[in-house]
């Protein structure tokens, strides 16, 4: 299949088109604007809808409207823009409307900067909006957004979807339907919430994804996602060259989090280092997974700084030597 050199933003946009995206609503913000730009010419080509909204809030509620009629709909933003969408995200979950939101995350807090970062983990995974809710959070491999890499598009295979017997469309030929996002009676709302919790439990059963890489009998487990995972793979390889036994667990879904495998691997390795491009957010989920069974170390960079292979490897060796683990070449 043909490899094309493409920016991550464009690859995401093209993938959305191929996956049947019907509408896109968004508001410009670096470093994800190419998603809009690409779709502004690509979607109309396919007879689909591109609309630049007046704000991120308008965009998320346009998404809400399109989702309510059962369309496949996408929005994207970054940092401040994603914060502005938090109310809307809470509403989407409450109304049980499906939608895809891309956060090409950047340095925060505040206006911060436009360099890559992972400091929106809590917001995405714990739920930055109000109420008890969760959304499936995917963390794709790599330095997305502005970077180009060869990309291969496979034809997407869809399982047939269940009929959207909840979508509104005008009641023609059926009883009318409505989409709501509230239940004024506490007993009612608790039931709604319990049903949501059921759904989240089902996600936790069915949607966990991760990748394991490296030594089968590691002395240290590395944990990282996205861009960091790429670097950690180099660290594992580089480490192996130096005789270090390292393995990586890369969560692909941040929620639901691959806690079980994380714990298993961590216990096997005896120690963990979690590396993030923030000051320690996934760290909490790693610690929750590991339940105090082994020490969890942390190395974080932020503000757009990216951990280097060199520095990370140094941290790794420090930990191993501090904890008295000998590697093949002896330290």
């Amino acid at each position: 299949m043909k490899r094309i050199l493409m920016k991550g933003n464009e690859a995401i946009a093209e993938a959305a088109v191929r996956a049947g995206c019907d509408l896109y609503f968004g508001y410009p913000i670096t470093p994800q604007t190419e998603i809009s730009e690409y779709l502004s010419s690509r979607l109309p080509e396919e007879g689909k809808v591109f609309l630049q909204a007046e704000s991120e809030i308008a965009a998320i509620y346009m998404v809400y409207g399109a989702a309510a009629v059962g369309k496949r709909v996408l929005t994207s933003s970054s940092g401040p823009g994603i914060s502005l969408k938090q109310e809307g995200i809470s509403y989407l979950v409450s109304a049980e409307l499906p939608a895809v939101i891309v956060n090409m995350s950047r340095g925060g807090p505040g206006l911060g900067n436009i360099q890559p970062s992972q400091s929106d983990y809590f917001q995405a995974v714990k739920g930055g909006g109000h109420g008890d809710y969760k959304t499936i959070v995917l963390a794709p491999d790599g330095m997305l957004g502005q970077m180009m890499e060869p990309v291969v598009f496979t034809e997407p295979q869809f399982d047939p979807l269940p009929p959207k017997d909840w979508a509104v469309s005008g009641k023609e030929g059926r009883k009318r339907r409505f989409i709501i996002c509230f239940a004024l009676d506490p007993q009612e709302l608790e039931k709604v919430n319990q049903a949501l919790q059921e759904k989240f439990r089902a996600m936790e059963r069915n949607e966990i994804r991760y990748e394991i890489f490296g030594d089968e009998h590691p002395d240290l487990l590395l944990v990282g996602y996205g861009t960091v995972a790429r670097i950690l793979k180099s660290v594992v390889r580089e480490g192996a060259r130096k005789g270090l036994r390292l393995a990586l667990v890369r969560p692909i879904t941040l929620y639901p989090f691959p806690s079980a495998v994380m714990k298993e691997k961590a216990v096997q390795a005896g120690r963990v280092i979690d590396v993030e491009m923030n000051h320690g957010q996934m760290l909490e989920d790693v610690r929750l997974a590991v339940e105090g069974r082994v020490p969890v170390h942390f190395y974080g960079r932020s503000g757009g700084m990216i951990p280097t292979v060199e520095d990370t490897l140094q941290k790794v060796m420090d930990i191993l030597s501090r904890e008295g683990v000998k590697h093949e070449n002896g330290i």
């Binding site: 490899r3 050199l5 670096t30 470093p31 436009i114 790599g142 330095m143 502005q146 970077m147 180009m148 890499e149 060869p150 790429r230 670097i231 950690l232 793979k233 180099s234 660290v235 390889r237 990216i306 280097t308 292979v309 060199e310």
Partner: protein, 192 residues
């Protein structure tokens, strides 16, 4: 093979494009490749730069602390990126605009008077970037010449087709410069 190249210069000099051609050629040649721009607010002025990695292994980090090759097309770029080149790495300098070679003792330096070649030989000063690339690849065969041509055709498809030819010419002019110099017995040496 694993080569990390940083290309830096003015915003308008086609720095990102240079990197893209190199990366695309690498991809066509079967390498793992990555291209990573420094992206700031869109204001012009100041320097632009990008990192291209060609490797026969999966690429981890796509930024480079100590690149194997640094290409600089203006003075500020030399000041900022020159010192980062790996020991025994290669520093390619657009000598039309850059005076000196910075403080990089153990580095091989390739001086290419890019603007002059682009202006005089190619007849279009905007082709500076391809002149430099042609020279770089002639000096250090990172990718196949043929793959660079394919890359240009892929990138400049559609409305920009007409630009392909002049870019070919610029690549050739860069190559020719190196060949002639080599034939004349000039060899690059670490900066004394």
């Amino acid at each position: 093979m694993h080569v990390e190249t940083v290309i830096a210069g003015f915003g308008g000099q086609g720095i990102l494009f240079l990197g893209r051609v190199l990366a695309t050629a690498g991809m066509i040649g079967g390498y793992h490749v990555s291209w990573y721009p420094s992206y700031g607010p869109e204001m012009r002025g100041g320097t632009a730069n990008c990192t291209v990695i060609l490797s026969d292994q999966e690429i981890g980090s796509t930024i480079s602390d100590h690149p194997d090759i640094v290409v600089v097309t203006n003075q500020p770029a030399l000041l900022r990126f020159g010192p980062l080149v790996k020991e025994e790495g290669l520093l390619v300098i657009n000598s039309s605009l850059v005076r000196g070679t910075g403080h990089c003792p153990t580095v091989e330096v390739l001086n290419v008077p890019g603007n002059e070649i682009a202006g005089a030989m190619v007849g279009d000063p905007r082709t500076l970037n391809m002149v430099i690339l042609g020279a770089l690849v002639a000096h250090r065969p990172l990718v196949w010449e043929e793959d660079m041509r394919l890359a240009l055709e892929e990138i400049l498809s559609g409305k920009k087709r007409e630009l392909i030819e002049i870019n070919f010419q610029a690549l050739d002019a860069g190559k020719k410069f190196i060949r002639e110099r080599r034939d004349a017995g000039v060899s690059e040496r670490p900066n004394e």
